[in-house]
């Protein structure tokens, strides 16, 4: 159940435990009927709302300093869960999140996680680490570490091949297509790149993310994934016309107040 934080909004943390709501099941009298539209091959993820058990969420996306930090680093989210009845336990076969098909708790590496506030996603990604700490007599704390889908690209080897001269955004688009990443409609938001890339062949020794970083090395823009899980490529900052999205001030009025900031001297 979503949880309201006073004067902040309504928050929802959802996790995928490997179940679907309408997956096609071979030989099933109900879900295995051909030519019907309710049960489909992959089904729809049966997201589990676990918000009520979450004690703390920390999300970090992007970078702090574009002159020092590389772009294209996967966003991270860390969930702290108070597990009073061991429903999140790796050893509890009676957990509602137990996946009987796999014989394991459904929350595991690469399972989906999404976090939203008032229906707007702050983070969409996958589990990268799942740790459970037991404190006697019967307290269980679970820490779930997550990354966005750039993490998958870091674990995917790129295929070698020849390329033709093209703009950086075109190269990125074809590389993502070659590994079927961010392939849903509207999931790639690519600005027209400034960099014209040559025909240096792609070597298979690197991961997809490493190769994207090489492309970025020539562009010097940004590679990032938004809160809803969409891939973005921003070109080099050559100057563009853009409205101000938010006014922050210590002067009161309608401007957004802030508590602290640093004057960063680079």
């Amino acid at each position: 159940m979503a949880v309201a934080i006073p004067n902040c909004g309504t928050y929802t943390v959802e996790m995928d435990y490997g179940a679907t709501t309408n997956a096609f099941v071979l030989d099933s009298a109900l879900a295995g009927v051909l030519d019907q539209t309710v049960y489909v091959l992959e089904g729809t993820t049966d997201w589990q709302d676990v918000t009520a058990y979450v004690k703390q969420v920390s999300i970090s996306r992007g970078r702090q300093n574009r002159f020092r930090d590389p772009t294209g680093q996967p966003s991270t989210a860390v969930l702290q869960i108070e597990d009073r009845d061991y429903r999140f336990s790796l050893v509890n076969e009676g957990s509602p999140y137990w996946n009987p098909t796999n014989g394991r708790l459904g929350f595991e590496l690469n399972s989906g996680v999404r976090i939203s506030r008032d229906g707007v996603y702050l983070f969409t990604g996958i589990i990268t680490q799942y740790d459970q700490r037991i404190e006697n007599p019967s307290r269980s704390l679970v820490t779930v570490s997550c990354s966005d889908d750039l993490f998958r690209l870091n674990n995917t080897k790129i295929a070698s091949g020849s390329v033709t001269p093209e703009r950086s955004d075109v190269r990125i688009d074809s590389v993502l297509s070659s590994v079927n990443a961010f392939g849903k409609p509207g999931q790639r938001v690519l600005e027209e790149g400034v960099a014209n890339l040559g025909n240096a062949p792609i070597d298979a020794s690197s991961s997809v993310l490493e190769y994207l970083m090489r492309v970025h090395n020539s562009e010097q823009g940004r590679i990032w994934v938004d809160g809803a899980g969409n891939f973005h490529f921003d070109r080099r900052l050559l100057g563009k016309l853009q409205a101000v999205n938010g006014y922050l001030s210590d002067a009161g009025g309608t401007a957004i107040p802030y508590t602290t900031f640093d004057i960063v001297s680079n």
Partner: protein, 200 residues
């Protein structure tokens, strides 16, 4: 492309360089792009293009590169030079453009790591903060009593954002950085020759 105060030249001589794309390299040893010794000032940037694949007759192809030098900055801060980094760029002109873009002649400062407590905002303000994302442009104003000027405003682009959420509060931290984004010129409000303003 115009880079005032920056002199760009092209070299074709052989030079020790980072490995080209088709050589295996572990992540930890990968050249960290153009990170120089002191990143606050970068006044000499070397950008190479990938050399041809070695052949029987040419086992060590020549690496061509462009170099951008900001002489005034070199005179003031000493030489702050990047390593020679091999990019995937097609031509030396492209390399020259990138080298010029990466030059930072003087140290910069900006308002960063801005912390906002969502609980203290109005609904409208929370909606705005909730919509901010990487690439969004924010204007940050701070008054400094007794200082000159007494108020400083910076318009910047977000490079990062973080959220810390507990059962009773939500803290948002914005990481803006200097941008090259123009805002709309408003007649009778903005002044001419302001290089941060543009017409739609």
């Amino acid at each position: 492309m115009d880079f005032s105060g920056v002199f760009i030249q092209v070299f074709t001589a052989e030079q020790e360089a980072e490995l080209a794309d088709y050589f295996a390299r572990e992540s930890g040893a990968r050249p960290n792009d153009f990170t120089p010794t002191n990143p606050s000032v970068v006044n000499t940037v070397n950008v190479a293009i990938a050399p041809p694949i070695p052949t029987v007759g040419d086992l060590q192809p020549t690496i061509e590169y462009a170099q951008a030098i900001a002489a005034e900055s070199v005179a003031q801060f000493g030489k702050q030079e990047t390593p020679l980094v091999v990019t995937l760029l097609e031509t030396l002109d492209d390399a020259g453009d990138l080298a010029g873009y990466l030059v930072r002649q003087i140290p910069a400062f900006w308002f960063g790591n801005i912390q906002i407590i969502m609980n203290g905002l109005t609904n409208a303000q929370r909606t705005i903060v909730g919509s901010l994302d990487i690439g969004s442009q924010v204007s940050v104003t701070k008054s400094f009593p007794g200082s000159t000027p007494s108020t400083v405003t910076q318009v910047m682009a977000l490079e990062g954002i973080s959220h810390d959420i507990t059962p009773d509060r939500h803290i948002v931290t914005l990481y803006p950085n200097p941008s090259r984004i123009y805002t709309y010129f408003i007649l009778d409000t903005d002044e001419l020759d302001d290089d941060t303003k543009a017409l739609a």
